[in-house]
Subunit: 376 residues, 2 copies
C-alpha cells in the first residue's frame, strides 16, 4: 500500500510544476500526513526536491516540492550508416550533453561499435557525467531487431546482421541497454515531441536513400512477433526497394556525388524546374506511395508521418506523392512531414529509455530504489 | 468503493465454478463480512445465484455461489450475402436459440433488413425469450463500418453502402446495437473459441468468393481511424481483387453453378487431380498470398488464421499457398486454418456483445443495474 501511495505521489509531481503538500495530497488522493511522510522519504532518496519559497509571497511561505529531473539521466544513441549520434538527457528529457560523429558507410562491425563507444563517452563528457549516472540506455539501429536486442537482419550496415547489440553496448553499463529499430524510435519521437502528439495510431515512414517504417498502435510501439512489423519494403510488389534508384539514376548527377547527398541534389534540381529531376522525383514518389498505401490499407492509421531525408524536400515531394498515393487508398490518408530532421531516432531512443525508467518508478510490485546508481 | 468491491466480487465469480464465501473473499481480496453483504445485494439483483449444497458433503454444508449466466442474454447476427444467421446466447456465451435463413444474393436493403428482423425473431422464439431479455446486440456485416455503425462502403451487398445499420436494427431494441465488419468479428471469434486462443496479434483472412481481413493487436480489435484496417484488398498491386476470378473462370465449371458453390466445386476437382482445377487453385493461392504477405510484413502477427470458404479445402490450398506466401515474407508466418466454418462471424458478434456487457458490469464509474431490462 505504501508503494502504491508512493506511485500516486510521484505521478502527481512527475512532469509538472512544483506544488505544495495540500495540492499534492489532493492530486494523489491521499491524506496530508501520508503525503508528508512519503515526500520526506522520496526527498531523502533523491527523487524529490524542495523549491525555495517564492520572494514576495504573502503570509507564511508554502513549502513547494518538485520531481528532481536531474536526479537521473538516460542515454539515447542513433547508429546510422554515416553518423553516430548520442545524447544524454535528464529525466524530463532535457539534453545535458550530446555528440555526433561522422563514420564511413563502409565501416565494419568493430569500427562502428568503437565509434558508438566514443560518441557515448563524448556525450557524457559534454554533460559532465559518467556512465554510472545513466539509468537506462537505448540504441536505435537499422534492421529487424529481436526483443532481446540482437540485429536479426540489416541490409544497410556492414557486418551488422546477427550482432547482439544489447550485449555489446551493455558491456559498458550496469543498467539495461534497450535496442530498437530506428524507424520504431522515430515513430515514438514523433508522438512525444513531433507532429504526432495528438494521435494514437501512427505510421512513421522514413524515406530517402533507404525506406523504412515504424508503427504505433494505441500510442504504443507495435514491434510484431519477430520485431518485423512495418517491413513492407521487403515486398517486391510495392516499390520501396526501387525508390532510391530513381534518385541515383538522375542523369545530371555530378560524378562521385556521395550517396548521402544524392537526394538533396535531385530535389534541389527538381525545385528549380529541371525536367529530368522532376521525372525522377515523380517516379520516386510513385514507388514510395505504393508501400505507404499498403501500410495505410492495413493499419488505417490516424496519421502517416514522413521523415528522413525527404522531409527537407516536402515542398517538392508532396504534390507527386499525394497524386500517386490518394488513388491507391480508400480515402486520402492524413499525412504530415516530420520536423525532427536527423534528430528523430536519437530523440525516440531517449523517449524509449525514459519510458523504461518510468516503468520502474511506477512498478508497484518492485521496491523503489534511489534514482541513479552511484559509483562504488 | 462499494462499486469497486462489487466488481472484484463479480470478477471472482464470472466464468468460473461456484465457490464459497471464504474462497470468494480471498479471491476478491475483501473481508468476509464485506463479501457477504455484496453477495446478498448481487443475488437480490439477479446477478448471482446460490447453488444447492452438494449431496454427501461432510459437516455443515457450505453455501456456494455462482455468476448467473442465464440472468441475461446477448444476440449475435451475421448478415451475409446469401444467408442471415442469428443466435441468442447467455452471458457465458452458451447458445439458447439460433436461426439461419437463406437469402438471395441480389436482395436489396429493405428485403435484407426484413430478413434480419425475421431471423432475430426466430432465434429469440427458439430460445423462448423476447427482445427485452437481450442486454446487447452485435451485427456483423461486410464492408467498412464506421464507429457509429454505419456501413461506409460495401462491395458485396446491394444497396448497403451508406446504411445506418445500428439505427435500423436498433429500432427493435432498447439496448445498444453494435455493428462491426464481419472479418473483424471472425478474428474475435478465433481468439475466443477458435485457433487463436493463445496469441495476441492476429490477422484473420477470410477467403473464398471474396477476400477480407480482420486484425487483433494485443488481443483487441484494431479497427483503424475509419474502420478500414485490413482493407489491403483495395490495393490493386496485391492480387486479392482478382483471386475469385481464377475459380469462376475454371473451364469445366457446369453452366449455371451458383456463385457460392464455385469454390467447393473447383477445390473438389483439384483434390481429384484435375489439371485445370489445380492450375486455378495455384493462381488463386498466388493472389491470396500477395495480400497476406502485405499484411504479414506490416503487422508481423503471432498468427494468420485462414477462414471462410477455403477453410474446408485446406488440404488442397495449403501447399500452393505456402509455396507462394513464404518467399514473399521475411520468414514463413505462422498459419492456421479456422475450424469455426460459417459460424465464425456470428460467434464473433456474440463475443463482441458479451464484451460490451462485461464492460458495463466492470465499469466502476457507473451504477450496476439488474441484469436484463424487464418489459414495462
Amino acid at each position: 500500500m505504501r508503494r502504491i501511495n508512493m506511485v500516486a505521489t510521484m505521478r502527481a509531481l512527475r512532469g509538472g510544476p512544483p506544488i505544495g503538500l495540500t495540492e499534492l495530497a489532493a492530486r494523489a488522493e491521499l491524506s496530508r500526513p501520508t503525503v508528508e511522510g512519503l515526500v520526506e522519504e522520496l526527498t531523502g532518496m533523491g527523487w524529490l526536491g524542495e523549491v525555495p519559497p517564492q520572494a514576495g509571497h504573502m503570509g507564511r511561505p508554502r513549502r513547494l516540492f518538485r520531481f528532481r529531473a536531474e536526479a537521473g539521466h538516460v542515454l539515447g544513441i542513433d547508429v546510422g550508416a554515416s553518423s553516430i549520434r548520442a545524447v544524454v538527457c535528464d529525466l524530463d528529457g532535457e539534453p545535458a550533453g550530446r555528440h555526433c560523429a561522422a563514420v564511413d558507410a563502409t565501416t565494419g562491425r568493430a569500427g562502428r561499435l568503437a565509434a558508438v563507444r566514443d560518441a557515448t563517452a563524448q556525450a557524457l563528457a559534454a554533460a559532465e557525467l559518467t556512465r554510472s549516472d545513466v539509468m537506462a540506455v537505448c540504441v536505435g539501429t537499422t534492421g529487424v531487431v529481436s526483443s532481446s536486442g540482437t540485429v536479426r537482419l540489416s541490409d544497410s550496415l556492414p557486418e551488422w546482421t546477427g550482432l547482439d547489440l544489447a550485449s555489446e553496448v551493455g558491456r559498458d553499463f550496469d543498467v539495461p541497454v534497450l535496442v530498437e529499430n530506428d524507424c520504431n524510435l522515430a515513430a515514438l519521437a514523433e508522438r512525444w515531441t513531433g507532429v504526432a502528439q495528438e494521435v494514437d495510431d501512427v505510421v512513421f515512414v522514413l524515406s530517402g536513400m533507404r525506406t523504412g517504417c515504424g508503427i504505433l498502435i494505441r500510442g504504443e510501439l507495435h514491434r510484431g512477433r519477430r520485431g518485423a512489423a512495418g517491413e513492407i519494403g521487403a515486398l517486391p510488389l510495392v516499390g520501396w526497394h526501387r525508390a532510391p534508384a530513381h534518385l541515383t539514376e538522375y542523369p545530371r548527377l555530378p560524378e562521385g556525388t556521395p550517396r548521402e547527398q544524392v537526394g538533396a541534389l535531385v530535389f534541389t534540381a527538381a525545385r528549380s524546374g529541371d525536367p529530368a529531376a522532376l521525372e525522377a522525383v515523380d517516379r520516386f514518389a510513385r514507388d514510395l506511395a505504393e508501400g505507404i498505401a499498403a501500410l495505410v490499407l492495413t493499419v488505417d492509421p490516424d496519421l502517416v508521418v514522413l521523415g528522413g531525408g525527404v522531409s527537407r524536400s516536402a515542398d517538392v515531394l508532396m504534390e507527386p506523392l499525394r497524386r500517386h498515393l490518394d488513388p491507391l487508398c480508400l480515402e486520402p490518408p492524413a499525412l504530415a512531414i516530420s520536423k525532427l530532421g536527423d534528430q528523430a531516432v536519437m530523440l525516440g531512443a531517449v523517449r524509449h529509455a525514459l519510458d523504461h525508467v518510468d516503468a520502474r518508478i511506477y512498478d508497484i510490485d518492485a521496491p523503489l530504489s534511489a534514482p541513479a546508481p552511484k559509483p562504488a
